[in-house]
């Protein structure tokens, strides 16, 4: 019995020779992370679905040459996804209401703490943090999504973002500081801004 290929590179080689099962295995292994990345970046399930489909279509069509010497296939797929998401954001097509809005968007009136970080493990704290991530400028949002939410290491993130590792570090540091600011501002102004809706930063 032939053992199932383990690595992405093996699966890629097989799929490029027409092995459909190899493609399906590779897709199932990597699609969720790509989908979540696009979702975190755009805030739109429709955009995330489109981006996920286009990423793997590009892989099928071999439109962008993947070089195993330069990095992992996962990082390569994230790189394609990033470009597609940025293209979508530039078009403004993802500028749709955040899905968290609606019944859940009402600001809670109770349990107001001085420290916005105190309830980050509770529902409203998590939603506030998610909104804060989505409202980050693009260059900070993508590094938080990659490193903090998808737990990519800095070397992979640097390849995806096409920048030095030191830049990843500094952007991540700055992004976290911005998140703290946003969380605190949201908590500070919450009572008087109840009618305001969160917006997505398209820069």
């Amino acid at each position: 019995m032939t053992p199932e290929p383990e690595t992405d590179d093996e699966l890629l080689m097989l799929m490029r020779n027409g092995d459909e099962q190899a493609f399906v295995t590779l897709y199932r292994r990597r699609q969720a992370a790509i989908y979540r990345f696009a979702m975190h970046m755009s805030g739109s399930a429709a955009v995330a679905e489109d981006v996920t489909q286009e990423v793997f279509l590009a892989l099928i069509r071999e439109e962008c040459g993947f070089d195993p010497e330069r990095g992992t296939l996962s990082g390569y797929l994230f790189g394609i996804a990033r470009k597609l998401v940025l293209r979508q954001l530039e078009r403004g097509r993802s500028d749709v209401p955040l899905e968290a809005e609606g019944e859940d968007s009402a600001w809670p009136e109770l349990a107001v703490h001085d420290d916005p970080l105190a309830d980050l493990t509770h529902r409203e704290g998590i939603e506030a943090l998610r909104r804060a991530v989505l409202a980050l400028p693009r260059r900070y949002r993508e590094v938080v999504v990659l490193c903090d939410l998808e737990e990519a290491d800095y070397a992979d993130a640097a390849l995806v973002l096409d920048c030095p590792i030191g830049t990843v570090r500094s952007r991540l540091h700055r992004a976290r500081a911005l998140l703290l600011e946003k969380l605190h501002q949201e908590r500070k102004f919450r009572p008087s801004l109840g009618a305001w809706k969160p917006v997505r930063c398209l820069t």
């Binding site: 020779n17 493609f23 399906v24 989908y35 980050l120 991530v133 570090r169």
Partner: protein, 226 residues
């Protein structure tokens, strides 16, 4: 430092603090090994806030960890892969052994599509004649499909960017989830839909996009490089 107090992120730390924060991302994951936090209350307080933030982000990641692309994406991609794999066999030498049955199935699918396109069609004339009721039904615009109209122009042949409804194909209902698959067919397949194709180019390949309904049957087609 009082709970909830905000640090000025633009604050310039002294050299030791700066060095500490330069390695902050790693510390947030693995803890402070430098001992700096024991000596600097300001950094210690800020670091605690960063740790709380990191924990919150981890919770967000866990909350969203179950998310994945809808199953229909895999269906579309698998269909696209089959089309692409069938095309690639001719131009790319096989580096690994591929079952003959798989290639035969891909070739059969292409032949079936080509035959479907040319079946019961004559060049030009049918489109100028009054279409049958079924054709009229499938020729209705479908505004939900990426802005394209599944219709025919007044005098065929059609505009190059239009999808051409296939004869006897069911109409795509509004809001129906359709799949778009790019394939390559012999140029002769275009004859059946009213295009003029010279005899010497009839065997050339031409790229086409085929709209598949949720039942997997082809509904419409457009040629990309006619």
């Amino acid at each position: 430092m009082e709970a909830g107090q905000v640090f000025d992120v633009s604050k310039v730390f002294d050299m030791n603090c700066q060095e500490f924060w330069n390695t902050m991302p790693e510390l947030a994951r693995h803890g402070d090994r430098s001992g700096h936090l024991r000596e600097c209350a300001a950094c210690a307080a800020l670091w605690e806030r960063q740790r709380a933030l990191t924990a919150g982000l981890r919770t967000v990641a866990q909350e969203w960890g179950h998310l994945q692309a809808p199953a229909r994406v895999e269906g579309r991609l698998t269909a696209a892969f089959r089309g692409h794999a069938g095309l690639g066999a001719r131009s790319r030498p096989a580096r690994l052994w591929v079952p003959v049955v798989a290639w035969a199935a891909a070739a059969a699918a292409l032949v079936a599509l080509a035959m479907f396109l040319v079946s019961e069609r004559q060049p030009q004339a049918p489109r100028r004649a009054a279409p049958r009721a079924t054709e009229l039904a499938v020729a209705q615009p479908l505004p939900d499909f990426a802005g394209n109209q599944f219709g025919v122009s007044g005098d065929s042949p059609y505009n190059s960017d239009e999808f051409i409804p296939l004869p006897n194909a069911a109409r795509i209902a509004p809001n129906e989830d359709v799949n778009l698959v790019r394939v390559e067919v012999p140029r002769s397949a275009m004859i059946g839909l009213g295009f003029e194709v010279s005899a010497e180019r009839a065997s050339e390949p031409v790229q086409a996009e085929v709209v598949l309904g949720t039942d997997g049957l082809a509904r419409a087609v457009r040629f990309l490089d006619e």
